[in-house]
Amino acid sequence: MRFTEEDVRRVARLSRLALEPKEIKGFQLDLSQILDLAEKLLAIDTSKVEPLAHPGSSSVFLRPDVVTEINQREAFQAVAPEVDRGLYLVPRVVE
């Protein structure tokens, strides 16, 4: 299989996803299959082709420098798991 268990653990760590041991086995198989699929791309000669990141040929729309937002902290924090005095709470961040 193209994907090792260690590969799965590495990308799970990068993605901040806790995986059960049996999930790891399953993903190892699935991701290997997807990689087999993706492998087909490698045979295509694209040496003269520019990557296409956005469909169409537009350039980014720029907005004027105007303050349009008002304070809606209460509404936004109504869906927050844990807040105190307007701050979002998380386990202590170590610097």
Partner: protein
């Protein structure tokens, strides 16, 4: 016309009835809600139905109709895919992660529809974060196909498609990243359109793969799609990929003759992989177009077979990053147990996301990570350009491309349970269109063993009107789009 009959009509008929005061928005909404309640245990087309909220909107619509009698859509009910944020509505994206998320704002599409007075019937079920082709990936359970309850409705907008097909709503919103409008439309026997990338603002539509996602609509006819496109299209300064153009309304060009239009038939799309039944239906639909005066042209899309591999690099890459914001800090699911910040993230995300979402996040992180970016991600972007170039060349020889939407009809629930990656391969005719950013639609074209088959029409950038014009001509000449599943034909059981 009885209320029951009216519920199965198109937007213009419903609008006329509302205008003549034959029915009120509240009565209309109540009738649809009753149907939804009845069908919900079987179809599971909705994640959230909130009768009180809907009837409030309907009551407002009735007031609005008095105040603004010229607005045609005031009081017309629609279903919203649960991917569009709607203020005051629970917006879940089909995920446990957002099981309790009440959006504080409206998506652009929701806002546009609300402004015209449309009434939200409920929040349609979907594959989690729009990842899937069968609607089996919803945290809130799979949706069943109203034509055959043992089969899937397609995905990811399966709830929207099933709702319209079963007559639970005259229209519904959807999103299409790799076929998520066209394929369920085809499998549920209704019409669905995916507009040109940048035509409809993505603001407030929860992102799966930003460079591919596009909002669109489901309805019972091409005409209704055209009318709805005119409501949801247009520039929005809150989406930097929203294009500022002054296109004529889609509905204006609808009745233009299609005689003389060149229909491109991709030779690669009718070979191996396409089931015989679907092939026969699609071929006869194309014959119908030729009978209506179109000219058939064989075209070549040699790179389109690379679309699936390219998509399954690009879409997961974007998704892995787009879904990082779901971290249990500001909204969404937060794990009950964690001992530090790392565990807060890992447990919240591990519990909040389902397997398909995790699979794509992991794949995406992998192809973007050090040492694989050039080989996979950049290569996929290059192949993406080759696919777009294919279409560009093809449109030098034709005006519209016609072909199948999916290689088969709707498959039985659980068909790919042990082999999720095999399901990916079925999106081979829809994914190339998203990679190129083109507009495309699906219209009912017939049946294979009693299950609906769709005809896909693809146009050059910004040519939605041409597609709708052709689809409308097709629906004027045929009646496939009027067929309803027997058990949901509107007759109260």
């Amino acid at each position: 016309m009885s209320l029951t009959e009216l519920l199965n009509q198109g937007l213009l008929e419903i609008s006329a009835a509302l205008g003549r005061r034959e029915v009120s928005a509240v009565e209309l909404a109540t009738a649809y809600l009753d149907r939804i309640d009845q069908a919900q245990p079987e179809l599971n087309a909705f994640i959230t139905v909130d009768r009180k909220h809907t009837l409030q909107e309907a009551a407002l619509a009735d007031e609005m109709r008095v105040a603004s009698p010229d607005l045609p859509w005031v009081g017309i009910p629609i279903a919203q895919k649960d991917l569009f944020c709607a203020k005051g509505w629970r917006t879940t994206a089909g995920s446990r992660m957002l099981e309790n998320f009440i959006s504080p704002y409206d998506a652009h599409v929701v806002e546009q529809l609300n402004r015209q007075g449309f009434v939200t019937l409920g929040r349609a079920n979907m594959d989690e974060f729009a990842m899937g082709s069968s609607n089996e990936n919803s945290f809130f359970g799979p949706v069943k196909n109203p034509w055959d309850l043992t089969r899937v409705p397609g995905g990811s907008s399966g709830g929207s498609a099933a709702a319209v097909a079963a007559g639970l709503a005259p229209a519904a919103t959807g999103t299409d990243t790799g076929g998520s409008i066209r394929q369920p439309a085809a499998w549920c026997g209704i019409s669905g359109i995916k507009p040109t990338y940048g035509r409809v603002s993505r603001y407030g539509m929860i992102a799966y793969a930003s460079s591919l996602d596009q909002a669109g609509m489901f309805a019972r006819s091409a005409q209704d799609l055209a009318l709805l496109m005119d409501v949801i299209s247009g520039h929005d300064p809150r989406d930097a990929t929203s294009v500022n153009r002054q296109d004529a309304p889609c509905s204006h060009g609808l009745h233009q003759p299609i005689r003389g239009l060149r229909v491109g038939i991709p030779k690669q799309w009718f070979g191996k992989g396409l089931s015989d039944g679907v092939k026969a239906v699609v071929e006869s639909a194309i014959q119908e177009l030729l009978a209506l005066g179109c000219e058939g042209v064989e075209i070549d899309l040699p790179m389109s077979e690379q679309a699936i591999p390219a998509y399954y690099v690009i879409a997961p890459a974007e998704a892995s990053s787009n879904l990082s914001r779901f971290d249990g800090v500001r909204f969404g699911h937060r794990a009950a147990q964690y001992k530090d910040l790392g565990e807060l993230y890992e447990h919240s995300r591990g519990e909040g996301f389902g397997p398909e979402v995790k699979r794509r996040i992991l794949m995406g992180s992998y192809v973007l990570s050090h040492g694989y970016y050039d080989a996979y991600y950049l290569q996929a972007q290059r192949v993406r350009r080759l696919i777009a170039n294919d279409f560009e060349r093809a449109f030098e020889r034709c005006d519209v491309i016609a072909g199948p939407v999916a290689p088969t009809t709707a498959f039985p629930l659980g068909s790919f349970g042990a082999d999720p990656v095999q399901m990916y391969l079925a999106d081979l005719y829809t994914i190339p269109v998203n990679l190129a950013g083109l507009p495309a639609l699906s219209v009912p074209a017939g049946f294979d063993h009693g299950l609906p088959v769709g005809l896909q029409l693809i146009g050059p950038w910004w040519e939605e009107t041409r597609l709708l014009q052709m689809a409308h001509a097709f629906q004027t000449a045929t009646d496939w789009h009027t067929k309803r599943p027997a058990s949901y034909s509107g007759v109260t059981q």
